[in-house]
């Protein structure tokens, strides 16, 4: 009797958990479906294709001398110009700086926490860095807008207060806890035997950490980079506030920038439903989804391969 009740509860719970998993996947699927559906007129509607189409987005040089005047995002102009080049450049510039800042520092901090810090200190450092993840991005954006930008301009004499360095650094602060947490978990999971074997062969603590533990945790560290990249591409508020919000097609890190995500945030409130501009914004959304989807899939593939190789070597 008791046994049957237990089995029933167990069965019920299994169904509950399966349903929860299915709902999560269903949501992602439906959101993508909706985004893509709204972007579809860019490919199908002849009226909208006059203003917004793939050639407009990726290959529509205006007749102008300067490069930055040739590729412009001006969707509400009398002759709408919808080149995505300045927005793509803005996204990649800020992401580049952010990763350049967050990846080395995050991994170094993770190495310190897992390999060098005394246990007591580690119990302070780890939650402190993880607490950074709890700072709302609007607060980080505000900090970068008012304080960080002034510091950087005073220190380096930038022409523009809000530029790629400022936006990238603020974004990097948001990525730091992601890189740290995942790398740290990976480093801590490396079997004790690796460290003991390395020490037994006469390696110092630093040699062990860098030449044995870090390579053994490489898949986790790489996974951290991939996740950080995905977050950087999608982050909106920080870049909306700290990037200066000027869609300039320029490679210079001194110029203000506008990202794909910030463009959606700034313009979707005003856009006329069903217009070419509206479809273009949803096309940007689809593009963002594809970029993160492809980078995550590629990342997973590489991680799986690294893992396999490592296991092959150790076996």
């Amino acid at each position: 009797m008791r046994d049957r009740a237990r089995r029933a509860i167990d069965g019920g719970m299994t169904v509950l958990f399966t349903a929860a998993g299915a709902v999560a996947i269903l949501f992602i699927f439906l959101i993508f479906l909706f985004t893509f559906k709204e972007a579809l007129p860019v490919f199908t509607d002849p009226e909208i294709r006059k203003e917004a189409n793939l050639k407009q987005f990726f290959d529509n040089a205006q007749p102008a001398e300067r490069f930055e005047d040739r590729y412009v995002w001006q969707p509400t102009s009398d002759q709408p110009k919808m080149s995505l080049l300045p927005l793509l450049l803005g996204t990649f510039k800020s992401t580049f700086i952010a990763l350049l800042f967050a990846c080395p520092i995050g991994v170094a901090a993770a190495l310190f926490s897992s390999e060098f810090a005394p246990r007591r200190l580690r119990e302070v450092v780890k939650p402190a860095i993880e607490l950074l993840a709890g700072i709302p991005s609007v607060v980080l954006g505000f900090f970068a807008l008012l304080i960080l930008a002034t510091w950087l301009q005073d220190a380096f004499g930038f022409t523009y207060r809000l530029n790629a360095y400022n936006a990238g650094l603020a974004l990097g602060i948001a990525l730091l806890p992601i890189v740290f947490t995942i790398s740290e978990d990976g480093l801590a999971a490396v079997p004790r035997g690796y460290r003991e074997a390395s020490m037994a062969l006469g390696a110092t603590k630093v040699q062990t950490a860098i030449k044995v533990v870090l390579p053994a945790a490489a898949p986790a560290v790489f996974a951290a980079f991939v996740l950080a990249f995905g977050r950087a591409i999608g982050e909106t508020m920080i870049l909306l506030m700290a990037g200066g919000n000027a869609a300039i097609a320029s490679l210079s890190l001194n110029d203000p920038l506008r990202t794909l995500s910030a463009t959606i945030a700034a313009e979707l409130g005003e856009v006329v439903f069903g217009s070419a501009h509206y479809a273009a914004l949803f096309f940007i959304g689809t593009l963002l989804f594809l970029i993160t989807f492809i980078s995550n899939s590629l990342g997973n593939l590489i991680i799986a391969r690294m893992r396999r190789r490592m296991q092959g070597e150790s076996a």
């Binding site: 930055e68 005047d69 102009s77 009398d78 207060r161 809000l162 000027a246 300039i248 409130g269 005003e270």
Partner: protein
């Protein structure tokens, strides 16, 4: 012990199920007892007008206890879209509604739109206080914002790049500037777009080479530039006098938009904003009362 979890779960579900009905009952009671005017009046739109409407709403609520007014920004376009979609009672706008917006409002809401000018605003051009440039012609201003002129040297300042600040394209101020200064030409891609005039003033006050534009009421810590219609005409700084006699080239009306079939709480507020005491507040906030012209 093993049976505790499902029990707790069912208890939780039962409690959660009860909660809404418990709280819903008293609120529906009071809802019926209160007059309809106790529903808050919602206003949304122009960021330029937020401080003005906010101030008017505070005074209005003080004079009329029991009446509630909620004010939100977002830009003129956003407020007008909300009026069309029926999510607010009143839209505040720093530009007139366009013909297609009026048509879609009438179609969606089944009533004509009522326009009420509430104040005069002069659009000021802001520079950092340390910038030596004292005046510009409208043509020079247009050249600066379209990106033709890129150095302060070309308009009588020092040899430094001009840093452009402007508004989002959902802003009525953006539309006004584009139409009246740029003659509908495109802004330079180098314009850094910020949310709200306060943000622009803040940015310009931190940037010696910056230039921005917005409602004159935000003139704090920056200098409002004197403007010339063309090279021969005198430079005119924005002030009550120059806006009143129309010599300052960039002045405009600020509007409330409501629907002809809107409830009493809307008309009561809008009527009040035109009274002398409300118009005195308009002046206090830094805009110009309607009767100045």
């Amino acid at each position: 012990m093993k049976n505790v979890f499902p029990l707790a779960l069912s208890l939780l579900i039962a409690v959660a199920g009860c909660k809404p009905s418990e709280t819903a009952a008293p609120s529906s009671d009071t809802g019926a007892a209160q007059p309809a005017s106790n529903r808050p009046l919602s206003i949304k739109g122009s960021d330029t007008m937020v401080i003005l409407t906010q101030r008017l709403a505070e005074e209005y609520m003080k004079l009329n206890p029991g009446r509630m007014v909620q004010v939100n920004g977002g830009g003129s376009g956003t407020g007008i879209a909300a009026l069309i979609n029926g999510t607010v009672d009143l839209a505040q706008a720093s530009r007139p509604m366009k013909a297609d917006e009026l048509a879609s409002a009438e179609k969606a809401r089944g009533a004509k739109v009522v326009e009420t000018p509430v104040a005069l605003d002069s659009l000021a051009v802001f520079l950092d206080e340390a910038n030596p440039v004292k005046e510009l012609t409208l043509q020079q201003l247009a050249d600066i914002y379209t990106g033709k002129v890129r150095s302060w040297k070309d308009v009588g300042g020092k040899d430094a790049p001009i840093i452009l600040y402007g508004r989002e394209n959902s802003s009525g101020t953006y539309d006004y500037f584009k139409e009246h200064v740029l003659n509908k030409a495109d802004f330079s891609p180098k314009v850094q777009t910020l949310q709200g005039t306060a943000a622009i003033v803040n940015a310009v006050s931190r940037d010696v080479n910056g230039i921005g534009y917005g409602g004159i009421a935000y003139d704090k810590g920056v200098r409002a530039l004197a403007l010339k219609k063309d090279a021969q005409s005198p430079a005119i700084a924005p002030s009550v006098g120059t806006v009143a006699d129309g010599t300052y080239p960039l002045s405009r009306k600020l509007f409330f938009y409501s629907l002809a079939n809107s409830p009493e709480r809307v008309t009561h507020f809008v009527q009040w904003t035109l009274t002398p005491e409300a118009q005195a507040l308009v002046k206090q906030v830094g805009y110009f009362p309607l009767n100045t012209r």
